[in-house]
Amino acid sequence: MLVLFLAFRFLPAIGAFLLSLTDYRISGKWDFIALDNYTRLMSDSVFHEALLVTITYTVIFVPLTVLLSLGTAVLLHQVVWKRGFFRGVFFLPYVTSIVLAAVIWKWIYDAQDGLLNSVLGLVNIGPIDFLSQSNTVLPSIAVTSAWKGFGYSMLILLAGLQAVPKSYLEAAMIDGAGTWQRFRYVTLPQLRPVLFFVLVIETIGAFQVFDAMFVMTGGGPVRSSYSLVYFLYDSGFKYFDFGYASAIGLVLFLIVLIVSLVQRRLVGRDD
């Protein structure tokens, strides 16, 4: 048991750091090259592109998924009618794999025979080749991931909404606050820690995006959906440049760490 954790959790974590300082090749031969992998990353235009794609994707995905899950959570909270059923429906995509979501949505976006273009065709729009244009590919993938995953954040937010003390809302009502004002000045501040949690979880998830891109676009067109993890995967398993790939992994770790620290600063200021 302990050996297992030592071997497969601690060793890889430390190993990742050590490997990133070497030029470990598939033959098993390696030399210590200090920070060469990192200086190489800094001047690698593919790395810059992948970083930009990942950040752009995150900027699209996080607001989309947070609004979607907040919206559905609020709806579920307000409407008592068949709540369990609807909650189940929204949660359903979450238990499936991102690969399945990617396969279905790849067809939905298809230019010839896809569902979306068939519907758009009815109103004489398109066909739009969503996954082959550099300006539509990232939003399209973000929609797919948001569809697959919003049920999770929705449940967390719903639990948060239900924990807002009724007496606060009643007090605001007595003071004459309307629906929007009650939501804005009572519910939202109360929801802040939960919202913070969701924001961090979704941002970290967005920075690790890979599966959907691998299945839907193969990183294309011309690397416009080529994320950091995709770059890591290719460096490791296409070019067998294990040291370099480990350096990318470490950069990913640092980004995730910084993001959660920064968001803690910004959103969690008063708690």
Partner: protein, 290 residues
Amino acid sequence: MAQVLDRPPVRPVVEKPSAGRRTAGRLTLPTLLALTAIVTIVPFAAMVLVAFAPPSGRTFPDALNPANFTLENFSKVLSSSDIPRWTVNSLLYSLVSVACVLLFASMAGYAFAKKKFPGREIMFWAFLATLMVPFQATLIPSYILVAKLDWVDSYWGLIVPTLANSQAVFLMRQFIMQLPDELFEAAEIDGAPEWRIFTMIVLPLVRPVLATLGIFVFLWHWNDFLWPLVIGQSGQMQTLTVGLATLQTQAVPINQVMAGATITVVPSLLVFGLLQRYLTDSIAMSGLKA
């Protein structure tokens, strides 16, 4: 008590929306809810329709006519691909992992929660620290380790590294910590050996958590992609998710891809249908993420 009852109940003084606006408001929200639900379901419905649609002809409107439904896509995709083999791999990967992770996590969780041993605090913090490192960051060293053990493209390589599940250990520890110490002390005083305390006291008490955790571990593995992709390099060792991904990069007709997709989703749906309440409640309470 009497004082409270003396006063008439305070009625909220709010501008009352007109009756019309009120019913409109009452109707709009459920309508919006229902519409969102339909949009959420459409991709699944489309998948199933296309999977049963005749392979020739355009997808629309042909796919919408139940008279044309056929099982042809299913039989074709089953015979032309390795789906049966992939299913076995996925089941092994998921079920063996569930059994082992549950056992290891409850043992380690018990040790961390109730046993005093040198270095416990440091070890526990080391556990927590590994939770912070994204899996992708350790992908390469994990792979090299598996390669050194000559486990690439084998069940050992696929399953063993994923058994070290820090999140599961953490969850079990949190739960076992809440159990009263007296239970374990009483057993120790009675001279019960350690394995008896574990099987007779710890395991029965953690059963509800085991159920929830089991579902999550199952879904983690059943839906996992990157690790099986890297380890199961030959077609024989692929799991269903990896197989599905390769299926649609080859020139397999869309109807057959959707038939394959429908097959992969069945176990997730079963788990969901049977255990939805467990799943949703535990997410709301503990923030477990599949």
